[in-house]
């Protein structure tokens, strides 16, 4: 044996068909340097991640990415995945890193839930002819009334933000994604009149114009957080945790800290941007209360201040504490949520499903008389409008969508964001790759996707005989469970299929 580094075989291989005219476009498009031209033909080398860029860009449709068949002796316990991980870590001695949400096919509870529909005793509504309302508020909408001695009353407006659909684009920082990608997401949020998350990297000066449609993030690194950043935006979110990496800080490797990122995050060029694992001013609910109060003071109580927590075992009690600490909204992020970089061990094995988390938090807050104080947002693996609608019925006011929006913009979920070479110009800071993302096109595709989802939401609301999405929030009686584990249905407060109303 010459080397102490043994082979971990590729999982994917580009196969070039006879339709190829050797235009070499694929070689230029492949940012992972997998393809080469020699002896008059295109050949594939090592390292394909199945990003599908060459397939999409080939003018001849001559490329197909094939899954390399598993070649190790089959074993039910030590699957090839396990053996690849062992070999790789024996090579590197490192913590396995990945990105996007977990790729382990855990059962999705969403897929075990069915929605109700109206028949005879409660008429359905045709959303194409009648009004079905999807407007949603983040934070308190009402404010308060006060009678004066003259009998007239003064209104103190609520600080709530009105959105046209119950959807927020999740937090992706400039750094995790490119300038053009963040711009596209912000443009989409403005056109849809919803909010988009800024992520923890601060706000680039060019993006100030989008501030009324942004939900800013105050995370443990406090990157780019200054008075302007707090006062300009629609809402402020304290990020305690993220579904893809609960209990983990952020770590933007120095390779990604370009001029642009260093300026926006306000850190030196090329250094690692490390976010501490906890906020070091928050070790308790009482401390959380203080940061919430500090932020409310900072913006003179004019913007809602929320708390984002990853869905973990004790989520209901933690959410209850966060509401008591003064949060105007709570964002729950499920364990299948996405990220630009995370240790695999956390991504794949820590947290709980968002479906269970939303249901138990909504139940707990309702039981404790706190639910009306807070807007409940939830995200992490919303793949379709069906997931979105079920999430609302489980208890969420607003649903966070992110990976689906990135897929609409080009992402093929190859889970290589952390390499910084994204061939679609999304999760990269390399200027030639960033320029591949056209913000206008990206925004248009996200707007189309979410508009379609909102239409589907109206269709299902109409079919259920509900004329406003607010009436679906936490309406678990309109869900039925058909999965293998009635215990989880009990915990979530959902009846089994076959059980009637009441």
């Amino acid at each position: 044996m010459n080397s102490d580094m043994w082979k971990v075989p590729d999982r994917f291989r580009p196969v070039i068909s006879s339709l190829c005219i050797t235009c070499k476009k694929c070689i230029k498009e492949c940012s992972y340097d997998v393809l080469e031209f020699n002896n008059g033909a295109i050949h594939a080398k090592h390292g394909c991640v199945a990003c599908q860029r060459c397939v999409e860009m080939c003018p001849q449709d001559a490329i197909e990415i094939q899954r390399v068949p598993e070649t190790m002796a089959p074993h039910g316990t030590y699957t090839e995945r396990h053996r690849r991980a062992i070999l790789s870590q024996a090579n590197s001695g490192g913590v396995l890193l990945s990105s996007c949400g977990t790729d382990i096919p855990y059962n999705s509870i969403f897929d075990d839930l069915l929605l109700d529909a109206a028949q005879v005793t409660n008429p359905a509504i045709d959303p194409l002819r009648e009004t079905v309302e999807t407007k949603t508020y983040l934070g308190s909408r009402n404010g308060s009334l006060r009678l004066s001695s003259e009998g007239s009353f003064a209104v103190k407006p609520g600080c709530g933000i009105m959105m046209d659909m119950p959807v927020m684009l999740g937090h992706v920082s400039l750094g995790a994604v490119s300038y053009n990608t963040q711009k596209a997401l912000f443009m989409a949020a403005r056109r849809l009149n919803i909010l988009a998350g800024t992520g923890e990297g601060g706000l680039h000066r060019d993006f100030r114009e989008f501030a009324p449609h942004l939900n800013s993030e105050v995370a443990s690194g406090r990157f780019g957080v200054n008075p302007d950043f707090l006062k300009d935006v629609a809402s402020i979110e304290i990020k305690i945790g993220q579904g893809a990496k609960p209990g983990h800080g952020g770590h933007l490797p120095g390779e990604k800290v370009s001029d642009l990122i260093s300026e926006t995050r306000m850190i030196p060029l090329g250094t690692d941007a490390l976010s501490p694992y906890p906020h070091h001013d928050i070790y308790s609910i009482e401390d959380l209360e203080q940061l919430i109060a500090t932020l409310k003071e900072a913006v003179n109580y004019e913007h809602p201040v929320g708390v984002k927590i990853a869905a973990v075992h004790n989520i209901a009690a933690i959410a209850s504490g966060a509401v008591r600490a003064g949060a105007d909204f709570i964002t729950l992020d499920g364990f299948r949520g996405g990220t630009g970089s995370t240790p695999r061990i956390i991504r794949d094995h820590a947290g709980i499903p968002i479906e269970a988390a939303v249901a138990v938090v909504d139940k707990r807050l309702t039981e404790e008389g706190l639910r009306n104080r807070v807007t409940l947002c939830a995200g992490g693996s919303i793949r379709s409008s069906a997931d979105m609608i079920k999430m609302i019925a489980l208890g969420a006011d607003v649903v966070g969508v992110c990976t689906a929006a990135l897929i609409a913009m080009g992402c093929r979920l190859c889970q290589s964001c952390h390499l910084g070479k994204c061939s679609w110009g999304i999760a990269t800071q390399k200027p030639d790759l960033v320029s591949r993302m056209d913000p206008e096109l990206g925004a248009t595709r996200v707007v189309r996707l979410l508009s379609a989802w909102n239409e589907e939401l109206k269709e299902i609301l109409g079919a259920m005989g509900i004329d406003s999405v607010e009436s679906l929030v936490g309406n678990r009686d309109r869900l039925r469970y058909i999965g293998p584990n009635p215990r989880i249905a009990d915990i979530m407060g959902i009846k089994h299929a076959g059980e009637g109303w009441g």
């Binding site: 200054n226 770590h251 490797p253 030196p268 690692d272 490390l274 003071e297």
Partner: protein, 268 residues
């Protein structure tokens, strides 16, 4: 809640100067609510007041949060947690002790404390200066960072607790160790744990086993001494002469990329 009293502001003073009296008690005999005090400060700032004096401060939190004007604020009494959080510009002088999280995520300005300032002073600070005459608690200067011309500085007259400069990514911390006996270290354990930028200077005894992950000791050079002397001069301008003498120890990061090589990106 007690009504907001207009007599809290001494209108006899010139418009550019305001005294806010926080000695009042609410109906339960507690010090008045921080919201009332901070509201008065916000109002004064919006009216263009340049010098604000607070008297009788008794633990009110969040004073001068996110104030972004170059104004002077004098505080008599004991301000509560998060004094000057997110601030960008003001000069704050405290005639008393400050509590936890003083200067939390501040961008610029100065905070002078004529007493002690406790845990997590200067958390995530990215610019401006904090001078503390007395002692500080744990995790002071945690995750300070610098960019371009912006570089935060913390000067501590007495001692500092554990985890000084944890996660530090830039800026300068100076511990003078005044009135600390020579055989006792003026700093605690895990100094500069996770440090990947910036410098910590400590006058007095520091053993290698007090350093945190990623931190190392280095010899103080002429540029360092110049900076230290400038900061001491500034310290003395606020608090009078500094008495201690002794050599400085310098703590710096091993690397600006401390966790490179920790991860394995192979797709599984």
């Amino acid at each position: 809640m007690m009504s907001m009293s207009s007599n809290m502001i001494n209108s006899a003073l010139a418009a550019s100067e305001t005294v806010i009296d926080a000695t009042g008690k609410d109906q339960y005999g507690r010090p008045i609510d921080y919201k009332i005090v901070n509201n008065e400060i916000r109002r004064a700032v919006s009216e263009g007041v340049k010098n604000i004096t607070l008297t009788g401060v008794m633990g009110q939190r969040y004073i001068a949060t996110a104030v972004d004007k170059k104004i002077n604020i004098s505080i008599n009494g004991t301000p509560g947690n998060n004094l000057g959080a997110f601030m960008d510009g003001p000069f704050i002088e405290v005639f008393g002790n400050a509590q936890d999280m003083t200067g939390n995520t501040m961008s610029s300005g100065e905070i002078i404390v004529h007493g002690n300032a406790w845990d997590v002073t200067g958390l995530s600070m990215r610019g401006g200066k904090i001078f503390v005459k007395g002692n500080t608690g744990t995790r002071v200067g945690i995750h300070m960072k610098e960019f371009g011309q912006m570089s935060p500085h913390i000067v501590i007259g007495g001692r500092a607790g554990d985890y000084l400069g944890e996660y530090m990514a830039g800026g300068v911390i100076l511990v003078l160790g005044e009135n600390i006996p020579k055989q006792i270290s003026p700093v605690g354990l895990s100094i500069g744990s996770g440090i990947h930028g910036g410098r910590i200077f400590i006058r007095g005894k520091v053993n290698a086993n007090q350093l945190g992950v990623g931190a190392k000791l280095e010899t103080v050079n002429d540029d360092d001494l110049k900076l230290i002397n400038e900061l001491i001069k500034e310290y003395e301008s606020w608090f009078g002469s500094s008495s201690s003498e002794g050599d400085f120890v310098k703590v710096v990061p091993f690397s600006s990329r401390p966790f490179r090589g920790h991860f394995d990106s192979t797709p599984i």
